[in-house]
């Protein structure tokens, strides 16, 4: 493992990798700063670009977009009281009041420092943990893998927005979409309705771009968000962040980093839960909790450190087990697959140097992150007021380009439009699309693992599991328990968010 780490370090220290990460960071912050444009959208649209370059260029580029986007969302959160990304919702609670008190620049500075610290620390933890977890994952067989996949999907459904049963229904819908094409065990045709293009199944890229990017565009068009040009708080006046401010926030940043790091490793939980948990923990630990929600600098630091600390560890289940922990890592999974790399237990043993190279590149990206963020904050502050009447149509063009270049098949464009309309419709009806996407991605590996378990058990699944696969049984028993606990926690955090937003 150590040899892989050293080989990875050698691979990562190339100027091309640094350059594309810087480009990705810049683009990510830019997109994150645009209200109504999500990091997810940017990554979905830019994903096809990674197909035509080598893995150490394409994947670090997407990771740069991801990191930049999570921080970028704090810019409109502070300047406009509009979270640029879901992860920045908790930042609005104290960021917007600080901007109203003419401390916008200080708030942006602390958001940047907290983001970089949280991200950097969690990347170090990821590098330390990934080897041992990969070794454990290698011991897993089909029953354990099936159990973990089921656990992941149910957890994601439990932590999705809306009712638990709606998350489960979307998850089942995703499994249904995954049935289309050839069955993964016998390669027999299923639900193709004699459409030749469907024999390869529903393509992943148009589905991702459709539900995450196109549906968002349709929602913005419905609300006439194109016409909205809001007045942003200025950042020229007001004090900058001082060392004394930073010292005051340091303990909060460290606490939130720890919270975000742990949450990042759990599939399905993600930045939003991390941000609110970090914010709530900071408020509880503060000597002046009454200041939170009214312009407390530690509130911004807590939310940003926690949501950025998720970035690194969220790759752990993806790289070691092949399970995307959230929608962002689902897109990264697409990038890995396009490069001929299948994340999972074998990846570390077969391509360990490459994996470590990517993780080390992520670590180095934090230095670039600090520099680019610090120098470009005034520029990004202007981005929030760009008219959507030009950006939205161009985003449509980018979405179509991304889908077309991946396969040169016009059929994929119709799939893109279908899932754009589908994503719009289900979101208006209060369903979260993420469980559907996760189940679509994990459905085939789940069916394969289930089929292999059946073969191994020779007809007596229960007896086989109970007598020879205690880990799988434990995971299966844990599934409803963990789902219930996470669902209760997310309900409580949502209530905290609603109460705080109501008071702010």
């Amino acid at each position: 493992m150590f040899e892989s780490f050293l080989a990875g370090a050698e691979l990562a220290l190339r100027w091309e990798t640094g350059l594309v990460m810087a480009a990705g960071l810049f683009l990510g912050i830019f997109v994150g700063a645009l209200p109504g444009f999500t990091t997810l959208m940017a990554m979905a649209i830019l994903l096809p670009l990674s197909f035509f370059v080598e893995p150490l260029i394409g994947i670090p580029f997407l990771i740069g977009v991801y990191k930049g986007g999570i921080f970028g969302g704090s810019i409109p959160a502070i300047l406009l009281a509009i979270p640029g990304t879901g992860a920045a919702v908790a930042t609005v609670l104290d960021g917007a009041p600080l901007a109203r008190k003419k401390q916008a620049r200080k708030a942006l500075d602390v958001a940047l420092v907290a983001s970089v610290f949280g991200d950097l620390s969690s990347d170090v933890v990821t590098i330390l943990l990934i080897g041992p977890i990969a070794l454990i994952a290698l011991q897993f067989g089909p029953p354990e893998l099936a159990a973990i996949l089921l656990l992941s999907m149910v957890v994601i459904a439990a932590t999705s927005s809306g009712r638990f049963v709606k998350g489960l229904l979307m998850m089942t819908l995703g499994l249904m979409f995954a049935l289309v094409g050839l069955d993964p065990i016998g390669a027999l045709s299923r639900f193709t309705f004699d459409v030749f293009a469907l024999r390869a199944g529903i393509p992943l890229l148009p589905l991702l771009i459709g539900v995450y990017a196109l549906s968002e565009i349709l929602l913005a068009i419905e609300r006439r968000a194109a016409a909205e040009v809001r007045q942003a708080a200025g950042i020229r006046e007001g004090a900058r962040l001082t060392l004394a401010d930073l010292r005051r926030c340091f303990r909060t940043i460290v606490r939130s980093t720890a919270i975000g790091t742990v949450i990042g490793m759990i599939p399905g939980v993600g930045q939003v839960v991390a941000a609110f948990t970090g914010w709530a923990a900071a408020k509880n630990a503060s000597k002046h909790p009454e200041r939170f929600g009214k312009g407390e600098l530690e509130g911004v630091a807590a939310a940003e450190a926690a949501n950025n600390a998720v970035n690194g560890p969220t790759l752990v289940p993806l790289l070691t087990l092949g399970i995307p922990g959230d929608n962002i890592t689902a897109i990264l999974l697409g990038a890995f697959i396009a490069q001929g790399l299948r994340p999972g237990p074998q990846l570390m043993s077969e391509q360990g140097a490459l994996v470590f190279a990517i993780l080390i590149a992520m670590l180095l990206a934090n230095v670039l992150f600090l520099v680019i963020g610090y120098l470009a904050i005034p520029l990004f502050a202007k981005v929030v007021t760009i008219r959507r009447s030009l950006l939205l149509p161009l985003t449509v063009v980018f979405a179509f380009v991304g889908v077309y270049v991946a396969s040169s098949d016009p059929f994929d464009l119709y799939v893109l439009v279908f899932f754009g309309a589908f994503g719009y419709g289900v979101r208006k009806l209060g369903f979260d699309v993420t469980p559907m996407v996760m189940a679509f991605i994990l459905g085939t590996p789940l069916e394969v693992a289930f089929g292999q378990t059946l073969s191994l058990s020779q007809g007596d699944v229960l007896g086989y599991l109970l007598s020879q696969r205690p880990i799988a049984v434990t995971l299966l028993l844990l599934t409803p328990v963990v789902a219930y606990l996470l669902w209760r926690r997310s309900m409580r955090l949502r209530r905290v968010a609603e109460e705080s937003a109501g008071k702010a």
């Binding site: 999705s160 959507r388 464009l413 893109l416 439009v417």
Partner: protein
């Protein structure tokens, strides 16, 4: 995980039994039933060897499980819908919103249809410029420059730099 302002909103006291949640629940139950009915017609039969099927997971088993879950979770949702208070997001559509979305969807389908016959640059310009006008862009010169310049730049980036093909047009002798 989705932005809160697109979700249904709390509408106060418990609504009548027939509400949008009930309709959605019934739709999921119906989908599960339809899926189950379609299985014999849409799932190919596995090969028989010496009068026996291959062992392991049969291709129709997983679809049957999925259909059962759709029906089961649909019925659970139906039960919960009796006490639901959220209003559908469609009930709070922005004025003219439905028409804007439908027109946009029509434009997107047209874009998919015309991308190859017309070529990437002309099709993208027509769609981007048309949509920008539809969304309120009033500076026509800026609109033309941006909506033409960006597709041209994208075309050159992909075809000349990344060596990936995009449908050419008849413009400039097929240059773009």
């Amino acid at each position: 995980m989705t932005p809160a302002d697109h979700s249904p909103r709390e509408s106060g006291p418990v609504r009548p039994r027939w509400n949008y949640d009930t309709a959605c629940a019934l739709a999921f139950v119906a989908l599960g039933v339809v899926l189950f009915v379609l299985i014999p017609y849409q799932v190919a039969r596995p090969l028989m060897m010496f009068g026996q099927m291959a062992s392991g997971l049969q291709p129709e088993r997983f679809p049957q499980v999925v259909a059962a879950f759709l029906v089961g979770f649909g019925l659970w949702y139906l039960w919960q819908s009796r006490g639901a208070t959220e209003a559908s997001g469609f009930a709070t559509l922005a004025p003219g919103g439905a028409l804007r979305v439908l027109i946009t969807l029509g434009v997107l389908v047209l874009y998919a249809l015309l991308l190859e016959p017309l070529g990437f640059v002309p099709a993208s310009f027509v769609v981007a410029f048309g949509l920008s006008l539809f969304l309120g862009q009033r500076n026509l010169a800026l609109g033309v420059v941006v909506c033409l310049g960006v597709p041209v730049a994208i075309y050159l980036l992909f075809t000349r730099v990344l060596h990936v093909s995009l449908p050419p047009s008849a413009l400039l002798g097929g240059l773009i």
